[in-house]
């Protein structure tokens, strides 16, 4: 009993009883005047791209939970928290030529070390080549633990400018197809998404003559069998 009391008394004296953690912090006192504190800036790096590029960013931390945000002229472009291994951040983004800001921070706003990289994303091999009006083409999107890893691509050649309906359909009620139209390393318009699982992703797009890439994935990252069609819009 005496030893127990002595231990507790010593801990109390050291300020460790209850919470050891908080005792190392400055106090915020209830009903006291406001305390002024300086919030430091997080690391912000400038990335300059000479040409449109799909950039793969990785933020890897061994002592924290790295987060990543990409800005262009201060405006939000993309961000990620945990798409890399473990709690590391990873994202890919099609970026136009220009100057970007890459911000790294920790999820809990702690002081951590982050290894940051930006590389040209490796190409994804085309699973098929399509022309408007061709029969439906069967494809299989792979399972992946983040968006790009779960994607496959289809090459599309448009000979005549016009409006075309792009469709990725599935008979699997657990799949939710998504189509990203890419031309010249730039995303064209919004991503075409299914309204809900088990439904097709379909939309009409005005396309000029030329070569396109349709990046297709199952929104929830699971492997999925789909058919892809491109038909002249009526």
């Amino acid at each position: 009993m005496r030893r127990h009391t002595l231990v507790l008394s010593t801990l109390a004296l050291l300020g460790l009883a209850g919470t050891a953690l908080a005792q190392t912090l400055p106090a915020l006192t209830i009903d006291a005047p406001a305390t002024t504190v300086e919030i430091p800036a997080e690391p912000t790096l400038t990335l300059t791209l000479a040409a449109p590029t799909e950039v793969l960013f990785d933020a890897i931390s061994t002592d924290g939970d790295a987060q990543l945000r990409v800005l262009h002229d201060g405006s939000f472009v993309a961000e990620d928290g945990d798409s890399g291994d473990g709690t590391n951040a990873r994202l890919s983004a099609f970026l136009a030529a220009g100057t970007y800001q890459v911000v790294a921070y920790d999820y809990q706003y702690r002081a951590t070390t982050v290894n940051l990289s930006a590389v040209t994303a490796p190409p994804i091999a085309s699973a098929a080549t399509l022309a408007p009006g061709a029969p439906a083409t069967a494809i299989a999107t792979p399972a992946g633990d983040w968006g790009r890893a779960a994607s496959t691509e289809v090459a599309l050649h448009v000979a005549t400018a016009g409006s075309y309906t792009l469709t990725a359909d599935t008979s699997d009620s657990t799949c939710s197809p998504e189509i990203t139209v890419i031309s010249g390393n730039q995303v064209q318009g919004w991503v075409i998404s299914a309204s809900s699982t088990g439904h097709a992703a379909s939309d009409a797009r005005a396309l000029t003559a030329g070569d396109y890439t349709l990046r297709i994935r199952n929104w929830n990252g699971r492997a999925c069998a789909m058919t892809v069609t491109v038909t002249p819009a009526s």
């Binding site: 209850g18 209830i30 406001a34 305390t35 919030i39 790096l45 002081a111």
Partner: protein, 253 residues
């Protein structure tokens, strides 16, 4: 070394290790060293296809907030034109409450019921840029109840005011329960096409539960076993509009 002293030292060292990042989600900054730190300039550019570079994220300012008695506190973090954010964490590093812009402009403001304990208050800037923040905490006084409702009594009609944050848009009702049992508390907006009630059941300065959309036609509903005593129902519109609500407390079979 004396056995008791050895035990104390071991325990203190163990706790110190925990305090220095041995466990949960919050880690502390190590104590300053007597040696002058080596300053290494952080990189400011990142080059496409170059090897990875190393950067160091910075710790956001943290405070210790000691709450001696249960009660509702208001915390403010101002820093315009920057966008200061505010988070209250418990002793295990879990998020208790947080806010971004409920104060004036981009300032952060929150009200939360806290049990006696030591909490950590953290401030950071939304866009991760440097900012000067002014942080304060104050004890809030209780609302004057707009009505008192007993279980089984006729419904009470209560108006929640318009407000620019949740507490400012709230009214309170006193609820008295004489007999232990299961009760259903409902709040139905007079104009259910516009107003969506959000209710919070409070007892002894602690939140028991909250609800919105729990009942039909956008009404709020709480089913709960209640012991005899006094409760408070805080009531507001989900979008902080001025709204009239009909509140009923009924015993359930």
């Amino acid at each position: 070394m004396h056995s008791t002293t050895r035990h104390i030292v071991s325990l203190v060292l163990g706790l110190s290790l925990v305090a220095c990042g041995g466990g949960e989600t919050e880690a502390t900054t190590p104590p300053p060293s007597s040696a002058a730190p080596t300053t290494v300039a952080e990189p400011t550019t990142i080059t496409l296809d170059a090897p990875a570079i190393t950067v160091h994220t910075v710790a956001a300012p943290r405070f210790s907030l000691v709450v001696a008695h249960p009660g509702e506190l208001q915390l403010d973090a101002t820093g315009m034109p920057r966008d200061v954010q505010l988070t209250v964490l418990d002793n295990n590093g879990w998020n208790v409450a947080s806010d971004g812009d409920s104060g004036d402009g981009l300032d952060a403001r929150l009200a939360t019921f806290l049990a006696p304990a030591t909490y950590t208050v953290r401030v950071h800037e939304y866009n991760h840029v440097a900012a000067t923040a002014h942080v304060s905490a104050r004890a809030l006084t209780a609302f004057t109840p707009a009505a008192t409702v007993a279980a089984g009594a006729p419904p009470a009609t209560v108006v929640s005011p318009a407000g620019d944050w949740d507490r400012a848009a709230s009214s309170e009702i006193a609820i008295t329960v004489a007999t232990a049992g299961n009760y259903r508390i409902t709040a139905v907006a007079a104009d259910s096409s516009t107003c969506i009630p959000y209710i919070t059941l409070i007892q002894n300065d602690a939140v028991l539960t909250t609800n919105s959309y729990g009942g039909p036609n956008n009404s709020a509903l709480i089913d709960r076993a209640l012991t005899p005593g006094n409760y408070t129902l805080r009531l507001r519109d989900s979008s902080y509009r001025a709204c009239s609500h009909v509140v009923t407390v009924a015993a359930q079979p």
